[in-house]
Symmetry: C2
Subunit: 197 residues, 2 copies
């Protein structure tokens, strides 16, 4: 239908976003059209702004609007602790917990033999350089507890062995987690790391 | 964090869309930023276009980019059948089934004593006028099988009683079911087995 071509194209583009499907894209677009002055126009403006200004931090790989991100620039974060994460989403998750006061290094993925992802395809060389050049005392490997995540953690640990203190996030039962919903690996890890009360 | 203010605002705005929450909004925005040239800029442009051109059809309430929508303008659709739906999403669901060849009338909601929605708050007066002025032979009430949907159907049936053939979708629509959630085959079956009221 010619008069709805742009609307159809918008639905199709929205449906390709992670977490959205055709149905939720249709509902989102209808909602946006109903509130076009209040919501659609401001959203489009904001997207234009972000498209023009968003960039990856040259140092850590975080997403921001400056060449070096606020976390890297903050003197308060110069604790000597460097937290290595796979993805910016993981960095944001760490930040929401408000417990880590150091800086980050975003790998941009994990090593994967299957997908032919090697160290040079990630920000691993930059990590090794940072450990050399910045006053890093501890590297915290906060990689996902997946096979590829743990392979990547072991590779980085090998590379940094003896040059810095290396730690990783403790594995166990998440707060509020029900055993019945956890995979065997998590339960095994939680049992092995059990603590005296 | 000042350098991520626009990004945070974008996530917050996306999270308010139906079907998206904070987590899916974060993932969608990260995805858009990664593909900012390929995806974010075109999406923003498309939203601007839709915001500037989208409007409700003055006759039926469908959403399009012209004052009178393509369905209302198409001579092929002048079958004398008028399908009354609650919402544009329901019209789209009917169109996807490709079984209905007539025209539509979008009410824009349902009567609701609880929410103080009366006939004048919907496009019910316009429906009565259309039945008078257009060569309508049959009004198909394709309202959701909810209490409010059926209350609205009965109200419209009362108003139109004796002036036109009145039918409703019957077979295939589950109790409490909403059209927009149904597969195309169910809608097709429901339309084919429509019954006189
Ligand atoms: Zn940074
Ligand atoms: Zn129309």
């Amino acid at each position: 239908m010619s008069s709805t071509r742009d609307i159809d194209a918008l639905i199709e583009m929205m449906a390709r976003l992670p977490g959205l499907g055709p149905r939720s894209a249709r509902r989102a677009v209808l909602h946006l059209i109903r509130k076009r002055a209040l919501l659609l126009t401001p959203l489009a403006d904001l997207m234009q702004t972000v498209a023009a200004t968003a960039r990856e931090c040259l140092r850590c790989g975080n997403v921001g609007t400056t060449d070096i991100c606020d976390i890297c620039l903050s003197e308060k974060r110069a604790t000597g602790e460097l937290c290595v994460v796979e993805d910016v989403a993981d960095l944001w998750a760490m930040e929401r917990s408000q417990v880590f006061k150091g800086r980050y290094h975003v790998l941009g993925g994990t090593l994967s033999a299957l997908d032919a992802v090697g160290p040079e395809d990630l920000r691993i060389p930059q990590l090794l350089t940072r450990v050399e050049e910045e006053s890093i005392t501890e590297v915290i490997l906060a990689l996902n507890a997946t096979v590829d995540g743990q392979t990547t953690a072991h590779y980085i640990a090998d590379q940094l062995d003896g040059r810095v203190r290396l730690t990783s996030l403790a594995q166990g039962v998440p707060i509020g987690g029900e055993l019945d919903y956890l995979d065997d690996g998590t339960i095994t890890a939680a049992l092995r790391a059990r603590k005296d009360l």
